[in-house]
C-alpha cells in the first residue's frame, strides 16, 4: 500500500523573507502597480510504501514532533496530511490558514477608507476597485534531486520503513496580481519569479532552480 504524505510549513510570526521579497519587488523592481501581496510556505510531499499505514503514520507524527528536520514546533505552524487507500489523517493548522493570501486581499477590498500611518488614503482601494485580482501559486525547487534523495534516505532510517520517494521539496510562493487577464498574470508571474537579469526576476535563479506554476485563478472578492 502506498501512503501519500503532504506537509506544509510556515512561520507562526510574520515571515521576514516575504516582506523582504515584497519590498524588493515593489520598491526596487517596479511592481508596485501589479503585485498586491505575497506569501510563501515550505512544502514537502513524499510517498511511503508499506503494508499497514497506521504504524507508519504514528511513527511519522512522532518523528515530526521530536525532530526539527522539517519544522520546529516552537516557531512554525504546519499542516500534515497523510492519505492512503481507505484512510486519511490530518493534523496541524488548516491549510487555508497557511495559504491566507485570498483572505488578505479580500479584506483589503472591503476597507471603507484605508489609510496609512500618516492618515493618507492608501492606494489599495483604488487598485482593488473594479479590477481583477489573480492568484498564482508556484513551487520553487532545486534542479538537482540530491536533496530529495538525501531526505528520503533520512526518513527511511528514522521511520525504519520501506523506500520513501520524495516528490516535492521546495518553497510554494503565492502571488496576488492586479493584471488585466489570466494570460498577463501568467506572464507577470514568470517575470517576477525567474531571475534572468538584474532588473527582471527575483524568486529563483534558473541556473540551479526551477519552478512549476501549480495554479492560477481569479480571486473571488
Amino acid at each position: 500500500m502506498k501512503l501519500e504524505v503532504s506537509l506544509r510549513v510556515a512561520l507562526k510570526a510574520a515571515d521576514p523573507v516575504i516582506s523582504t521579497a515584497y519590498l524588493t519587488l515593489v520598491e526596487k523592481m517596479g511592481y508596485r502597480d501589479k503585485l498586491l501581496a505575497l506569501n510563501r510556505l515550505e512544502s514537502y510531499s513524499f510517498s511511503i510504501s508499506c503494508a499497514d499505514p497506521a504504524p507508519v503514520v504514528r511513527s511519522l507524527t512522532g518523528f515530526l514532533a521530536t525532530q526539527s528536520t522539517f519544522y520546529n514546533r516552537n516557531k512554525h505552524m504546519y499542516f500534515l496530511e497523510c492519505s492512503w487507500e481507505g484512510g486519511r489523517h490530518t493534523e496541524g493548522a488548516r491549510v487555508e490558514q497557511l495559504e491566507s493570501l485570498d483572505r488578505q486581499v479580500a479584506r483589503w477590498s472591503k476597507l471603507d477608507e484605508p489609510q496609512d500611518l500618516d492618515g493618507q488614503a492608501t492606494r489599495n482601494r483604488v487598485m482593488l476597485k473594479d479590477v481583477a485580482i489573480y492568484r498564482s501559486e508556484i513551487l520553487v525547487e532545486d534542479i538537482d534531486a540530491d536533496k530529495k534523495v538525501a531526505v528520503g534516505r533520512g526518513l527511511e532510517t528514522e521511520l525504519a520503513t520501506a523506500p520513501v520517494t520524495v516528490a516535492e521539496l521546495g518553497v510554494r510562493w503565492y502571488l496576488a496580481l492586479r493584471v488585466d487577464s489570466k494570460k498577463e498574470a501568467r506572464s507577470v508571474t514568470r517575470e517576477i519569479v525567474v531571475t534572468e537579469s538584474r532588473g527582471r526576476g527575483l524568486l529563483l535563479n534558473p541556473n540551479h532552480q526551477q519552478y512549476n506554476l501549480l495554479s492560477l485563478r481569479e480571486i473571488d472578492l
Binding site: 521576514p16 540530491d146 537579469s197 524568486l203 535563479n205 534558473p206
Partner: protein
C-alpha cells in the same frame, strides 16, 4: 596620494572593517560606505570592495536583494568603466546575482552560487582551503604563481551557498576553456581539486573565483582578508605557509599572510 577604495556596507555584512584594515595595511586609503549613502564617494573611488557577511540576512537567496539595490548600479558602472571591483564571499554572491560576472552575455545572469554540495552533510561550512591561479587574466590574482605546491595559497572559506553552477551551455563551455576562471580550489600540489574537502562545496570545475572578461571584476568565495597576517594562519595548513607559520612562532605574527596578495595586487593595479 594614496588611491582610495570604498568598502560597501550592506545591511547584514560583517567583514567590512577587517577588509578596510587590510586595504590600509597594504598602503591604500579605504573607508566604509553605507548602502544607502549618496553615491558621490562611490563615483570618486578608485576601486570598490563588496565584503563578506549576510546582506539582508541571505533572504530569498544569498546576495540577490543587495544585487537589486540602487548602489549596485554604481558598482556595475564602476566595473564597466574598468575600475577594480572585488566581491568577497557575500560580495561575490551579490556580483553573481547582479550579472557582473561572467560578463560573457552582458546583462544576463548566467551563473548561480548554489547551496554547498558535500558528502553526508549540508549547509554552512567553514574551513581552510587552497587556491591556485586560474588561466583567466585578473588584476587581483597577479601575485599568484601559475601552479605547483608553492603556488597554492591557503585561505579560509565560510559559506553555505558557494557552489558555482550554470545552466548555460555556452557559459559552461567557456568556463571549461578557462575563460573567467581566475582562481580554483587546489589540492596539496596546487593542482585543481577533484573532490571534497579540497573542493569544499562541489563547485563546477572547482572554481573559487570568477572574473569578468577584462579581469577587473572578481567574485571570490574564500576570504583573503582573514588570511592577511601570519597570526591568522594555523600551523595545520601545511605546505610552505604552514612551515612559515611554524618558523615565525610568536615572533613575527604580523608578517604578511597568504591572503594579502589579493590586496597587494590591487595596490599595484592602482599605482
Amino acid at each position: 596620494m594614496k588611491a582610495h577604495v570604498v568598502v560597501i556596507q550592506f545591511p547584514g555584512v560583517n567583514c567590512e572593517y577587517e577588509t578596510v584594515r587590510v586595504l590600509e595595511s597594504v598602503g591604500l586609503s579605504a573607508s566604509v560606505l553605507r548602502w544607502n549613502a549618496p553615491q558621490g564617494e562611490l563615483r570618486s573611488a578608485a576601486a570598490i570592495v563588496l565584503p563578506g557577511g549576510f546582506s539582508y540576512q541571505d533572504r530569498i537567496r544569498a546576495g540577490v536583494v543587495a544585487a537589486k539595490d540602487r548602489i549596485t548600479d554604481g558598482v556595475l558602472e564602476a566595473g564597466a568603466a574598468g575600475k577594480p571591483v572585488l566581491g568577497i564571499c557575500n560580495g561575490a554572491q551579490i556580483l553573481v546575482e547582479a550579472g557582473a560576472v561572467t560578463g560573457f552575455d552582458p546583462g544576463v545572469i548566467d551563473l548561480a552560487l548554489a547551496p554547498n554540495r558535500m558528502p553526508d552533510r549540508s549547509g554552512y561550512l567553514c574551513r581552510w582551503v587552497r587556491l591556485s591561479k586560474g588561466p583567466a587574466p585578473c588584476l587581483f590574482t597577479e601575485f599568484m604563481s601559475e601552479s605547483g605546491a608553492e603556488g597554492a595559497f591557503p585561505i579560509p572559506m565560510a559559506h553555505a551557498e558557494g557552489r558555482f553552477v550554470t545552466a548555460s551551455e555556452d557559459t559552461e563551455n567557456r568556463l571549461q576553456r578557462g575563460e573567467g576562471v581566475a582562481v580554483f580550489y587546489a589540492d596539496a600540489k596546487g593542482d585543481r581539486a577533484t573532490g571534497f574537502p579540497e573542493n569544499p562545496n562541489g563547485s563546477m570545475l572547482s572554481i573559487a573565483g570568477i572574473s569578468n572578461p577584462d579581469g577587473n571584476v572578481l567574485a571570490l568565495m574564500p576570504h583573503p582578508e582573514r588570511a592577511a597576517w601570519m597570526h591568522q594562519v594555523p600551523r595545520s595548513v601545511g605546505g610552505s605557509w604552514g612551515r612559515s607559520r611554524t618558523e615565525v612562532g610568536s615572533g613575527s605574527l604580523f608578517a604578511p599572510g597568504p591572503g594579502r596578495g589579493f590586496f597587494e595586487s590591487l595596490r599595484e593595479a592602482l599605482a
